[in-house]
Symmetry: C5
Subunit: 271 residues, 5 copies
């Protein structure tokens, strides 16, 4: 079986909000070396900015472990919106006492495996040659229709759950097992099986997938939100036995944090 | 042989205490640059906090080598408990002179391979379809029964032995050898063989396994506790020839430390 | 099939401008610790230098994420030109407040797969032995002809688009899949297929390929320029299903930035 | 052939001295910023401690290259002895000007491949079941006998040669080539061949093997001592063509240093 | 085919000068923070030392990119000579403002593949057993004869060309493709083919190969010297299609620098 059985082999995808994850370490020694009054001033200047961005579009988490003390997650309409929030934060004196230890840039992505199979099939039946103007027009119409239908999922608010788990991932391109050479129909089947596990956790875990090919060092970012963090372990462990994960998933670092109101920043900074 | 011979392929697991390992380097230059009196004050302020958490729920170790000078191990009921201890420590002035060089986040895990085989078998004999409400109910009952029986092992105290060895590990997902594609029955047999070696060391080594899928960068964390550290080497070397380790285990960094009473912190800090 | 079917196996290539990418992090704490007047002076001294190099030959981008705050891209006639711009920048007091977190050295490269096939074929038909003086002369003439024709593509201006995506890449030399053992004719076919995808994006993305074998740690650098950054993701995702990318491409870190006039440096430095 | 042909598959091993390698970088800027008199004081306070430990049990080397300026090698009876020397050094003001850039923890190990083959064979002939009390007793007696005979090799002095080469190594556990699945008899043969090369260098190189499974990040540490350092290259190059090294050895970083009397510490610190 | 067809499998090699590459980053902030007069003094104290070592035995290069600002290359008769130059440099106040970001330790090596084939063949014809005293004597005589003949290539001056390219490399020891298992005769043929490409560049590139097995983290170091740096790319690209490189070469980081007279150090330090 070979991916050229379907042509083109790439599934149609939709892009939505631009997302930036910022992982931050507090420079405790420098921060605590400041006079108490100065720390108060710096915090007072930062709070309105942090509170202003915390409107479903940015969220603050306290991270567990050495990878960072804080994580800021920003959802914006596009990369320019993310650039603006980055510059707004850099202007704060508080920023000098936070080290950006890691970050991740991506855009909300919906992979339309089922629609792709349908529209490619229908266009093939009508003997339309891929990448001809007529073919392109039909594809664009499909995308436009889906984009309208999916609008809320493409530009979501940050879910309000108290726990967040973020990790980046790739699909394997090994010398023997290579996701990008698997026929589209098989990939669609595996993704559907994968989705079934997700649906069993629907009430417990809210998942947002973002794509980062061409934007950051892994191909996708995954954000999970839940009331109770043990469910992250249960869901991901169960999925690991899934064909698409067992064989084709490569995982980066995992970041687990607890949602905190920006107004509570002083508590996180031990002021 | 293929893992779809058993369905679902994942073993039932129980989760208990949340665990955080914190590896710390002393900032000797900055610490020793403080006036003696100030160091005394800082230590005096830290000791009550360190002693208070040292009640079977947190333990202090002096590490050997460059990976860290100290290791704090925290067992708590959940991630919130770990977040609280992190923030309590960050409030100490002492924290400014300790660099968090590494950490590991996990939860105590018991993999119920034998119970899983039994209950899956019994449900299959009764022709119950996986993931139906009835099937789920039976699984939940099995889990609940085991959870009650295993309570002390799920929420253990930190063993009092003077030596600790901690390391994270993964199961291999290679292009040819892939743990997650091995049938459940075979995995159960390999885990049982593996456990037999462990049992031969029962009097000498106390082992606590924690799961970290979805929580940290490896799949499991292993803590070994012993009176005499050479036994770590002997046990792990013997296990390396074990099928499940020889073929399917990938190991991260090893951290070896000696238990120290929090009250002895001054000695470790050369005050 | 084996690469010795064609001899020599390496495609003719042309080299043009030398390129240096410099990724920079602002040392916020040290920078902001300076008196406002001193920051103004430092910036005033730097601006004329930055503006002077910004003439189609150097460009400033604000980067997204933790890999850097700024990216300077320099196109020069040769490595000496790059050395000169490096030293000019090092002379600025501003340079002390910028940490060179990453860089990439390469030269514009055009791989002449089609011309190579033609000229090798024609020389073989005329029974000319490779690497004999006559053979070399014909090859040199081909290269010279192409060099003249390609002059504008070999020494391009930096495209004026607002968004840039840079990443380095290698061709796989695995134990089973090895680009450098694939026959030249097959490599030429795969590169032609690859180019076809690129051509479909011609109006939207401007691409500059540079070679870095013997100059930096990957074999090639890729710069993409566009009005709208989502197209980077779409183009590279589509190409990933391409045989030459799916099987033979290894990717390094991705850097995404927004073009900023050097005169706006003060804004990026939050002055 | 499979390792279950011999059971148990692990060779008997003996453990001796605990070893700690400490690689150190001088913090030149901070060190030289001290007044000359203060540097003299710090050195004067450190010398007696350094000289006291330099009695066949600890040795000082000046390293070549950027991995460290100095290397301290400590041989002690057990890990507690190493912990003590670590704390003694941390108490020195000199320690504040030395950065512990790397370290390695291990214990002298003798792998008794030949004795293992003999005793396993003899016990099998007498139909004794592995891991039964009788079997264990015989094994313990073999170990005890060997331990007595090997005492000087288990607790050696640090050889006095002027040059030292240290590196850690693993045995390969690949998907196709896996040392831990090779039958014991074959491993014994390969180790014997390997030892033969070593014996040809006996007069020129003194080798001490230490085991670090469960103690540090590689499985073994190798220390070579010689009058003339080129012999390190010649020996290791010749061994690389050896089956056990060519196929099954993975190497970490190499550290090469020249023995220096602790009394000469001032010279190394450019005082 | 198997390497035991030839015995011993390792080629005879000769060792010459000991080489140390030192890559250095200027600590711009600390350096420029010094009063102008102090910088002048420090430079004035350093120049005579730098100029004295610059006599065909040490050379200074300005590096391009973030891997370092400067590279010092030292050729000495042995490791003691390198240790001495290291200590001489560490004594300079200038050294406090240079961070040793990387280094490489190796010795000039000539691999005598052809002589090896001849002498092994001749000794085999005379039925001489390898590693017997007579066999060893003949080998030593061959080595001595070659050592005398090759003296100038074993202890070369640093070539005076303006550009240098340095990189370390390994031969692959994969699970399927393993250089150290290839028969000697085949390795000799591949090395001869490889050398032929080198000879075509003889007038343009001067190459010095050094061995670093047992000395540093890769097996070999390669130094290329040229008038024009594009030739580094052309030569290495052409060689990459070579069997020995395409299949068996693994490359480390590449460092490219321009020769600068030590007297020009002030210019590189922007004084």
């Amino acid at each position: 079986m070979h991916h050229f059985d379907n042509f083109p082999p790439n599934p149609l995808t939709l892009e939505g909000s631009a997302i930036l994850h910022q992982m931050l370490k507090v420079r405790w020694l420098e921060w605590r070396a400041l006079p108490t009054a100065r720390r108060g001033e710096i915090l007072a200047a930062a709070l309105p900015v942090l509170i202003a961005i915390e409107t479903g579009k940015s969220a603050l988490f306290s991270l567990l472990g050495h990878k960072g003390d804080l994580m800021l997650v920003h959802f914006r309409d596009n990369l320019d919106g993310l650039g603006k929030v980055e510059r707004d934060l850099q202007k704060l004196a508080l920023w000098d006492y936070l080290e950006l230890s890691h970050s991740y840039l991506s855009v909300v992505e919906l992979g339309l495996y089922e629609s792709t199979m349908k529209v490619y099939g229908s266009l093939a039946e009508r003997s339309m040659e891929p990448h001809t103007p007529d073919w392109d027009k039909e594809i664009q119409e499909t995308l436009e229709r889906q984009r309208t239908a999916m609008q809320p999922r493409l530009f979501p608010e940050i879910p309000p759950h108290p726990y967040c788990c973020f990790y980046p991932m790739d699909r394997l391109r090994g010398e023997h097992k290579n996701w990008y050479l698997v026929p589209l129909a098989e990939r669609q089947r595996m993704m559907a099986d994968h989705g079934e596990i997700g649906r069993r956790y629907a009430g417990k875990v809210k998942q947002i997938i973002s794509g980062s090919i061409g934007l950051d060092d892994w191909e996708w970012g995954v954000d999970l939100f839940a009331e109770e963090p043990t469910v992250f372990k249960q869901l991901i462990y169960e999925m690991r036995f899934d064909e698409v994960s067992a064989v084709y998933a490569k995982f980066g670092s995992f970041f687990v944090g607890r949602r905190t109101a920006a107004a509570e920043m002083g508590t996180l900074l031990a002021v």
